[in-house]
Symmetry: C2
Subunit: 364 residues, 2 copies
């Protein structure tokens, strides 16, 4: 019997090669653990544009709406820079997020002991780091109307609209508070309510949800610029951070880079429960498509594999199996195996993308 | 004869005590170097609200429009959190920026050798750091209309508008290219043109200004989230960064915190030339009002004094005098004098705000 359905969208650049390793892991779960997934595959981003003329075909969108989990590799590449805004690879990704209504984007920034050296920060600042950033993913300036470039000559202007409604803020706040309850019980909400009314509303509603529904969780507020500073100064002060789409984009990237090993960081984007009780969900590594190293066997597949681990946990309620996968990855790292992004330490063994996959399978 | 006019707005929190040291330096220039400034003082922020009921009185605004340079301390404090949005201390600062049309905000992020220890980053990442962030300061989401909180109940929403016109982008781009010519000749422009049309226009216009007027400067473009990452990973790759108001707020704070010593960082906000050829100008430290340590003699006056040094350079064309002041500050640091924010190193001598002022005067 199938555990559930997965749509794989490898995308562009290193997407296909890291996703190939995930497929092997999925197959392993079928063969060795009797956990069969119903897997299909399709195109997104530049790869979809090349074949279908759009960064996400309607049929692919329909499929994504049907499955339990979408696994996405990465999108984008320099050859698509010339495309019209509406055809850019990113639009495929953004359409998936918006139409699946994946409002809660979970971005863990975790420092792996074996890799603390790779951080540009001092070891004592970063070792043991474990932050969860909850980024609102379907609202704000990413999707607000009006938007576009209008006018002629010097009167030309570009416009985007930051807009948040009360229910949009409430649901992502709940998601952050729920996570905090399973972690260290602390949420820090970030906005710019000192200059933006949308941020003022954000702060008010997060506080209200807290007071009415989660008084047991510790809530603090920070302006997003101060939040960026504090992430650099003393990141371990944070447990869960909740913030809007645009600040979340920036702050989660800063937080990810604190660890120094982007090739290790997964993410989950979750929406409302479907009929079968599972949330709408998409999983993707935090790293980009890295066109400069694509196809050379240099890419680190771990972020993408850890994204599948998040799928096991959040979509299929297979926490123990996710733990098993996480442990296999930790073992391989402890054994000193490193892809090209993580070389430079003494006594480590350089491996290719596929060899890293081999080792993780062996450790499983 | 007066060299020019200065309006001092000490503001809130530690603003008055750091500004008191600046006043002493200004007096020194009059007595010892024959450089008399015509100095007046007024209120801004919470201090203005307490006296006038508004965060910036119209008379103060008028004065600011008349002088050669405004020196501002800091605004804000927890007691003003309850105020209506339009009365918050920040509105005073934002009104000054907007009505003086100070579109180009120069924020150097420099690491002082003697203080490299204070960074949370590894010494080799940060030592010798010298970045100039040019932040657009009068446009974007800070001032765009429509804005506000509207509707009732669940239909309530907060809205802000990001809007940039071609001339707004052109003038701040020119400001960045001009600076780059006096520095290392490189500009990196940051936006989110992959998701925001206003960012797409930004990129296009910065490129056009470059190609038509500054082909000798090296120009690159980066998405703002990647820019945040690169600031953490390898900040020394940058010379001048140019970006919009909101990204500039966040990225300049991240860049400032890389140095670990916020109490050392000045800023200049420049507008168009006035009738006398000098630009409209306001100078302020990057640090905030730090209400928790206000009035205790703990504040570091150096950021505020360095802001006056920027005034000497950019408003009064007294580069040599600015160099003299910068050198005095470096000497005092090399001598081991440290305010409370910079303690913890071996063999340093703790001093109060006023004692730091004494020492800088002595070094002059
Ligand atoms: C690729 C891009 C559209 C995307 C975003 O801006 O959200 C990326 O930066 C991310 O953080 O997932
Ligand atoms: C105080 C606040 C309004 C201001 C801003 O957001 O611009 C501050 O953060 C700054 O960077 O100068």
């Amino acid at each position: 019997m199938s555990v559930g359905s997965i749509l794989i969208l490898p995308g562009d650049g290193i997407g296909p090669e890291v996703m190939a390793q995930v497929r092997r892991i999925i197959d392993w779960y079928g063969e060795k653990r009797g956990l069969d997934f119903d897997v299909s595959e399709d195109l997104v981003g530049g790869a979809a544009y090349d074949k279908y003329g759009v960064p996400l075909a309607d049929e692919t969108m329909d499929k994504a709406q049907q499955v339990d989990a979408v696994l996405l590799g990465a999108v984008g590449g320099p050859q698509y820079d010339v495309l019209d805004f509406s055809l850019k690879p990113e639009r495929g990704l953004l359409r998936l997020r918006k139409e699946m209504d994946l409002y809660s984007n979970l971005r863990p920034a975790q420092c792996f002991d074996a890799l603390a050296d790779f951080s540009s920060l001092k070891p004592e600042i970063i070792s043991g780091l474990d932050i969860m950033i909850v980024r609102e993913l379907t609202g704000g300036v990413y999707f607000g109307e009006p938007r576009g470039i209008f006018g002629e000559g010097d009167a030309r202007y570009g416009i985007n609209t930051q807009r948040y409604t009360v229910p949009e803020i409430e649901r992502v706040a709940r998601s952050a508070f729920e996570l905090a309850r399973k972690r260290d019980g602390r949420v820090c909400s970030m906005e710019k309510g000192n200059v933006m009314e949308s941020g003022l509303l954000w702060r008010e509603i997060v506080q209200k949800v807290h007071d009415e529904e989660y008084p047991d969780v510790e809530l603090s507020h920070m302006y997003a610029d101060a939040g960026g500073m504090q992430l650099v100064r003393a990141p371990k002060q944070f447990d869960v951070i909740v913030t809007d789409n645009l600040f979340g984009d920036l702050l989660s990237d800063v937080a990810a880079m604190l660890t120094g090993s982007l090739g290790m960081l997964p993410s989950a984007s979750l929406g409302a429960p479907m009929e079968n009780g599972r949330p709408k969900a998409m999983y993707e590594p935090v790293h980009g498509s890295a066109p400069d190293i694509a196809g050379q066997g240099k890419a680190n597949p771990i972020a993408c594999i850890l994204s599948f681990s998040m799928a096991l946990r959040y979509s299929f309620d297979l926490g123990t199996e996710a733990d098993r996968l996480d442990a296999a990855i930790e073992k391989v790292l402890a054994d000193g195996l490193r892809t090209a992004d993580l070389l430079g330490q003494d006594g480590v063994q350089p491996v290719s993308t596929a060899e890293m996959g081999d080792a993780i399978l062996a450790a499983l």
